[in-house]
Amino acid sequence: MRNIVTMTRRELTAQFYSPIAYVVLVVFLVLSGIIFGMANFQPGAEASARMLFGLVPLILVLVSPLLTMRLLSDEFRTGTIETLMTAPINDAEVILGKFLGTFLFYLVMLAGTLVYPIILSFYGSLDTGLALCSYVGLLLVGGLFISVGLFFSTCTQNQVIAAICTLAILAVFTFLGDWLASGQEGTLRVILQHLSIRSHYEVFVRGLLDSNHVVFFITSTALFLFLGVKALEFRRWR
């Protein structure tokens, strides 16, 4: 437990030292601001919050791989993994600490977007329940994306490869899930639909907090964290 806290703090600080993280932060806020602006100032647009929240995962697919790509790749590339894993800390603590540190940085990013709903509330058009549900959805989506990125970062010492693999997987499951499912029949269709991240997320944007969808995000995040631990073990076994 203490080790997880130590790792989390170190990872969060590392994010704040990293120029990439700042670029990600700025790009994320600017892009979500643009979506918000487009939605809000279009004549007759009333569901601007829904538009904003609905599109944030799109931005996250693009920027979250940049936050996660160096997590373990860099440790393997520079060799710091050797000093890290010969200290009394186990693989799961390393993975969890890295996950939490990055997740905390993601919270900072999300906190930056709070200004948009606040602006909306001044115009009196904010549905608070919807906004809260959407933020819960965004926390869950972010957690899943970070765990996927963390897994790929554990698999290779090349940050670019880690980022590209993460981007590909996230893009497929976020955007293409529904589309792929529509071309299939029967069980496969049901499975693909169930794996579509967007269809799970959209429930939150509609203002519904359904435990089924919460469970989907939490189990898939846990699955990727577990895979990350296994990948870390496996890499040392070679």
Partner: protein, 317 residues
């Protein structure tokens, strides 16, 4: 303190270490153990296994009384490790890094403060503690890595080529520090510099191609090496007489000669460990021959490896 039995490790088809067996860190070997071998011998691989970074394919190893494979966390609590390239988090400051490492070892705030102060002093980092590691030179980073390895006062310290990349002054200081560490810790260091091992270690293990070739006190090894050394001498006199006279000295083996304008250049192989320089000098002065050069060509580590490997081959027959 470090016991290794039949340790073997492959990387794919490459056998990095092959059936290593040794036991060091007791009264008979002393506390500073040198692991000596040429590039690719398997030194780093062995140290990675002993420090619980990598598993082996087969065999058994215990460090500080704990099994490396089944009690990995216990082993890791009791060791400090400086990897070959001294890898560090470059964005951190030295003090911050050492505190992070101390926390991983479960040290309290106060312990960490004291330990950081004492190791930065011991490793001459006083002026750099608040500098980002990325701005430090290679030698300074090496010292940060060393400071990290000492931080939690571990029983056993693994140092993979600790003096590589240091300037001569720092090499001397580091060797001195390692000798001091031997009072309270067991130090297991790898090196490909025979001279270094001889200077600081109480026990040496020579390894090549993943196998142990020799082990013993450095002085013993030196004996075996210098037994194979040659003496080069240039003497002015009738070539045949010179060669015959030198050959008749006791302790002299084969003699090769080469004459150029009156000077005979001799390459004398010693039989056994004795030093024959004095005999040669006396001989020359007795006979009234001039002597213009005499030096001992001490066998290099490479010669030593070649010699021992050859011995092993013929021994196996």
């Amino acid at each position: 303190m470090i016991e290794v039995k039949n340790l073997t490790k492959h990387y794919g088809a490459i056998r990095a270490i092959d059936n290593l067996t040794f036991s060091v860190g007791s009264d008979t070997t002393g506390n500073i153990i040198g692991f000596l071998g040429p590039n690719g011998a398997g030194k780093s691989t062995t140290i990675r296994i002993l420090s619980c970074f990598q598993p082996a394919d087969s065999g058994m190893a215990t460090v500080a009384g704990y099994n490396v494979f089944t009690q990995s966390l216990d082993v890791r609590r009791n060791i400090g490790y400086l990897p070959e390239s001294a890898p560090l988090y470059t964005e951190m400051r030295v003090r911050e890094y050492l505190h992070f490492r101390g926390k991983l070892h479960g040290m309290s705030r106060r312990d960490r403060d004291n330990a950081v102060r004492s190791v930065t002093e011991r490793c001459w980092l006083g002026d750099f503690v608040d500098r980002p590691i990325g701005q430090l030179s290679k030698g300074m980073r090496q010292r940060v890595g060393l400071a990290d390895a000492l931080l939690h006062d571990p029983k056993v310290i693994f140092l993979d080529e600790p003096t590589i990349g240091l300037d001569p002054m720092q090499i001397r200081e580091t060797r001195k520090l390692i000798r001091e560490l031997g009072d309270r810790h067991i130090v297991f260091l790898s090196s490909h510099i025979l001279h270094e091992v001889e200077q600081i270690c109480t026990h040496a293990i020579v390894i090549a191609s993943g196998r142990i070739l020799a082990s013993g006190a450095p002085a013993e090894l030196r004996e075996r090496i210098s037994a194979g050394s040659r003496l080069i001498a240039e003497i002015k006199g009738s070539p045949d007489a010179v060669v015959a006279a030198v050959k008749s000295l006791s302790g002299v083996g084969a003699v090769e000669s080469d004459t150029q304008d009156e000077w005979t250049r001799l390459s004398i192989e010693a039989n056994g460990a004795g030093d024959i320089r004095e005999e040669v000098f006396k001989l020359a002065s007795e006979k009234g021959w001039s002597l213009r050069e005499m030096r001992r060509e001490v066998a290099s580590l490479e010669d030593f490896f070649i010699k021992i490997t050859a011995e092993q081959r013929t021994g196996r027959g």
